[in-house]
Amino acid sequence: MDAIEIQGLTKTYAETRAVDDLSFSARRGRVTGFLGPNGAGKTTTLGMLLGLVRPDSGTARIDGRAYRDLDDPAGSVGALLDPTLGHQRQSGRTHLRVIAAATGRDDERVEDVLQEVGLADAAGKRLGAYSMGMRQRLALATALLGDPEVLVLDEPANGLDPAGIRWLREWLRTFADSGGCAMVSSHQLAELARSVDDIVVIAHGQLRAAGAYDDVIGERDLEEVYLELTSEAAAIR
């Protein structure tokens, strides 16, 4: 069974069809790149997968179940959405402790993930004093609190320095190689080309391509293929 299964997903806001009969899947042991221009419907799709947005029709399942029906959602799926969000006067450690409490994890697990993302030394600082890279690591730590088997990451490399980007790439590889499923939405095509095993491209809420990276891109350049697949949407925006 695929870890993530999207079937006929559709969402309309007012007159705009943000996601239009979208279907694809993501497998365990693979890093799947999720690409599309701004406004293509990526964030809405991730929101529907994670139960934050109600679809008009279709299903989004993780291990065969809707996110809200998972026995232990945080232990099944870790999500990194917008790293800029958080109470600016809370420390990184307290921010994580609140989320840990909400997922039934203890403070020991908070220290573990702070170590894992390299943020232990800065955990006592207020979020308002965090750089973008530190916020990104904190958001990743939040996603890892439940030690999930599926990761859904929206622009995880934003704000990371080159060493951090390399660390993230190697970390994702290790995660996938040990049986995890990572779905990564990003505009950083060069980095994605080095990280992903599979690729899903959408535009105007519709699927443009999905499959193994080598099958979709072949010997060509990811940027070139991506722009071809999304040229209509790119021209409009």
Partner: protein
């Protein structure tokens, strides 16, 4: 970022999911409640509300008996002293603000998505917030009473009077006052959750209680008893009114129930994007 080095990947657990997980325990009602209470304790807003409450109750509990003439009923008459030792309508503002903070803080800081990812069955989050608001309002009532006793009793004695209200009557005043504060805190919670904005929600609550209510009450006395904070004093019999104490209780329940139902409805159904 310079002080942080990328962490070696070998520190990653060998298998995802290897760390100890609570499984179905993650769905017990106490878990979202623990998170809400920790959030309440770890952000400055509720502490500011608590500090302002202590300052307000402390100052008024000191000033009122101190400024009273030596033969004032307030210093010896049980009936007159009830207004000094009861939870007055002004105190309701703090409960309303606390409720508004619980309802709006996650929306203000964008952490609502993280909260709903941790507890995707949304009614559990709503229920945890209602309990949190209830507990917070009871703490505010307890602190108000403690401050009142610590300041007003010595102030009355220093002015030559004595505590004349029987203990049973004091207990009745405080229980009714605390119940009223819970209801009005839920009113604030509902507004905060429904507006999904700390600025709009708390702004609306402040304008309503500090500007609209006094002006409207003065301009149209017939409606004064029905405005949000008035029923708190009527409930405990601290204010002469057109409605009975039971009517005031019903009014507070309505003020609590309608915005809370609307706020919870929005929490349950609204897309988070």
């Amino acid at each position: 970022m310079s002080q942080m080095q990328p962490h070696p990947t070998q520190d990653r657990p060998a298998q995802p999911g290897a760390a100890r997980a609570p499984g179905r325990a993650a769905r017990t009602p106490a878990i979202p409640l623990r998170a809400e209470l920790l959030m309440l304790r770890s952000t400055p807003g509720p502490w500011v509300v608590l500090g302002l409450l202590v300052a307000f109750v402390g100052v008024t509990s000191f000033m009122v008996p101190t400024a009273a003439p030596s033969d004032a009923p307030l210093l010896r008459d049980p009936e007159a002293q009830r207004t000094l030792f009861g939870l007055r309508s002004e105190v309701a503002l703090f409960a309303i603000l606390l409720g508004g903070l619980v309802g709006a803080t996650d929306h203000r800081h964008g952490t609502i998505a993280t909260r709903l990812l941790a507890t995707p069955v949304r009614w559990r989050v709503g229920a945890a917030r209602v309990v949190t608001v209830t507990m917070g309002a009871l703490v505010l009532a307890l602190v108000a009473v403690a401050t009142m006793l610590a300041v007003a009793v010595p102030a009355v004695q220093a002015a030559g009077g004595e505590l004349a209200v029987p203990a049973g009557e004091l207990a009745r005043l405080w229980v009714l006052g605390a119940a009223g504060m819970v209801g009005l805190a839920l009113f604030g919670y509902g507004i905060g959750e429904a507006t999904r904005s700390q600025i709009v929600g708390l702004g609306a609550l402040l304008v309503l209680t500090l500007i609209v209510e006094p002006l409207l009450g003065a301009a149209v006395p017939a409606v004064a008893d029905f405005l949000p904070t008035a029923p708190l004093a009527i409930l405990a019999g601290l204010r002469a009114a057109q409605i009975s104490a039971a009517g005031a209780g019903a009014l507070i329940m309505a003020y609590a129930a309608v915005p809370t139902a609307v706020g919870l409805g929005i929490l349950l159904r609204h897309d988070i994007g």
